[in-house]
């Protein structure tokens, strides 16, 4: 009961903050919440299950594009569009993960890199369906039960998305499946000897987190009310990986801290060095891996243990 109250308190606090912010800050806040959501699910795949994939942001894009295309190009009802979007994410995820998980090694990383690259090409060449390089715009969130959610209320929807994602991942992490994922990460041979189906665990973790990214993308589609290819480029896939590494891979707190830090740093840095903050991120990641592989959360633990 008390844990339910804690979730409720977090929801009220995070959503309540949106009503105090101006329009511009609300926009920044929404994107921060979305990045944290993505980092949380990516952390489950990379930090907890130990798989490198570059497609997480592409699945975010697949979710966003599919819901917009199903709703406004094919004029399907809202719930059906959402379900079809999720089904599409699962289908693509399975198609990439099943061949890649048959072998040991980092084939998933390469396959997902190719998938992410191809996704951008398809968006650009898609003609009227995807809107080409300009993407799709000028659509609005459909009315639901006679009302249209907007303004800070939509921020509250994103808060629910974040907490929902966290709750799912939290429960999974503490279940049999989460322990199997950690075992696969730390030592696949030992995991197999304990009766864990390594390939199936990898495929399931990848498909599940990709679907979560797709759902986040569907919510994103109505944040700016526009989807276009540059948003879903490979740069952001790397940024997501860096967020998790810098924050601390394998820990939910790490993903949250890393995402918040790397999302907010450019706002501080860009008046000083323009768009070169990515170079700073690259250096930061190499330094993190060399000096503090557990990330900022690990640094905090170390300080607390030896003050």
């Amino acid at each position: 009961m008390s844990s339910l109250l804690r979730w409720l308190g977090a929801a009220l606090l995070l959503a309540g903050a949106a009503f105090l912010l101006s329009d511009y800050h609300n926009d920044v806040y929404r994107k921060l919440l979305l990045w944290v959501t993505l980092a949380l699910s990516y952390n489950f795949l990379f930090g907890i299950c130990g798989q490198i994939a570059f497609s997480h942001f592409a699945f975010y894009g697949i979710g966003a594009y599919s819901v917009v295309i199903f709703l406004f190009q094919f004029h399907l009802p809202f719930p059906l569009a959402i379900l079809l979007g999720i089904a599409l994410c699962i289908l693509f995820a399975l198609a990439v993960a099943i061949p890649s998980a048959r072998l040991e090694g980092f084939y998933l990383a390469l396959a997902t890199l190719a998938l992410a690259q191809l996704f951008i090409v398809v968006l650009n060449e898609g003609g009227a369906v995807t809107g080409g390089p300009g993407g799709l715009a000028n659509y609005k969130l459909p009315e639901f039960l006679g009302t249209r959610i907007r303004g800070p209320w939509y921020t509250a929807v994103i808060v629910l998305l974040l907490l929902g994602t966290l709750a799912v991942l939290w429960r999974l992490d503490r279940s049999w499946f989460g322990r199997a994922c950690r075992a696969v990460r730390d030592n696949p041979e030992v995991a197999a000897a304990m009766g864990v189906d390594v390939a199936r665990t990898k495929v399931t973790a990848f498909t599940l987190t990709s679907a979560l990214a797709g759902i986040a993308g569907m919510v994103y589609a109505f944040v700016d009310n526009t989807v276009n290819p540059p948003i879903f480029g490979l740069d952001n896939a790397f940024l997501l990986l860096f967020m998790v590494i810098v924050g601390g891979a394998g820990r939910h707190a790490g993903a949250i801290i890393g995402a918040a830090l790397l999302f907010l740093v450019p706002f501080v840095l860009s008046p000083l060095i323009g768009h070169h903050h990515v170079l700073v991120f690259g250096v930061l990641v190499v330094a993190a891996i060399l000096l503090q592989p557990r990330g900022l959360v690990g640094l905090y633990d170390a300080i607390r243990r030896h003050p």
Partner: protein
């Protein structure tokens, strides 16, 4: 017929480029198990080296090419020193150097994007535009014959192979593991930089050229098989022919040809995961 011959020559030339990138992966994967996604960015650095020395400073081609090659060897050695050796010495899991190299990938790309304007930079042809394909094929042949002879005929090459087969046993036999690792990274950067220099007259040096090359090179490696030097070249040629025939004869927009590597990668992982050539 004329058309088909031209297609064959140009596909063979692209295949050689992919083969060189695949070779760069292979040189590092075999002894260390580390897959270095930064090879594409190394190729880009090589291309920008070509732009700087050959287009801007107008050095004679052989001198410029040699300088780029030496520079790339140093870059590879430095990368190993910074991002790989400290982790290997500490006994970190294999994932750690791979992630550090991903960080280096971004460092390389952003360093170039900060230093040069974002538009494409021209790099001159070695022997004129008609002969570039033949030049690429010739240089690649020399590189592959050299690497093959090195592995088959020299003690140093055998020591690489020994490390690839069993690291600990090789170390007990007195092979210096860190020297082998450093050399494999230097040689990998050399091969990748050469590929970048050779391909750049056709595509121009651009800071985003790395990732597609990294994907194509790795696909070539999976097709050919990770175990054999010849496999890298064979895989590169097969991939290039598949791509060019798709662009030429399939009724789809040219951009979709970028889907060919992904499709072939999936097919080979499903049907023949060891690649065409098996390790001896």
């Amino acid at each position: 017929m004329q058309d088909f011959l031209e297609l064959t020559v140009s596909a063979a030339a692209s295949g050689c480029i992919y083969g060189l990138i695949a070779l760069a992966y292979l040189l590092m994967i075999r002894p260390t198990g580390i897959i270095n996604f930064a090879v594409g960015e190394w190729a880009m650095v090589g291309a920008f080296g070509g732009y700087l020395l050959l287009s801007k400073f107008e050095w004679p081609y052989p001198l410029g090419m040699a300088a780029v090659l030496v520079f790339m060897l140093v870059i590879g050695w430095l990368t190993e020193r910074i991002a790989v050796r400290p982790l290997v010495e500490r006994g970190a899991p294999l994932l750690a150097p791979i992630l550090a190299l991903l960080g280096m990938l971004v460092v390389f790309r952003e360093a170039i994007s900060v230093s040069f304007a974002p538009d494409p930079h021209p790099v001159p042809y070695a022997l004129g535009i008609q002969r570039q394909s033949f030049f690429i094929i010739a240089v690649t042949s020399v590189v592959f014959i050299g690497v093959w002879l090195f592995f088959e005929r020299t003690i140093a090459g055998k020591s690489f192979e020994a490390v690839a087969i069993h690291r600990r046993a090789a170390a007990l036999m007195g092979i210096n593991l860190s020297r082998v690792t450093a050399l494999s990274f230097a040689a990998g950067a050399g091969a990748a930089g050469l590929a970048g220099l050779l391909v750049s007259p056709n595509v121009s040096a651009h800071y985003l050229m790395g990732v597609p090359l990294a994907i194509q090179g790795f696909t070539a490696l999976v097709i050919g098989g990770v175990g054999r030097v010849e496999g890298a070249l064979l895989g590169g040629l097969l991939l290039a022919f598949a791509e060019q025939l798709t662009v030429r004869y399939a009724p789809i927009p040219a951009g979709y040809a970028q889907g060919v590597p992904l499709l072939l990668l999936m097919l080979f992982l499903l049907l023949r995961p060891t690649g065409l050539l098996r390790a001896k």
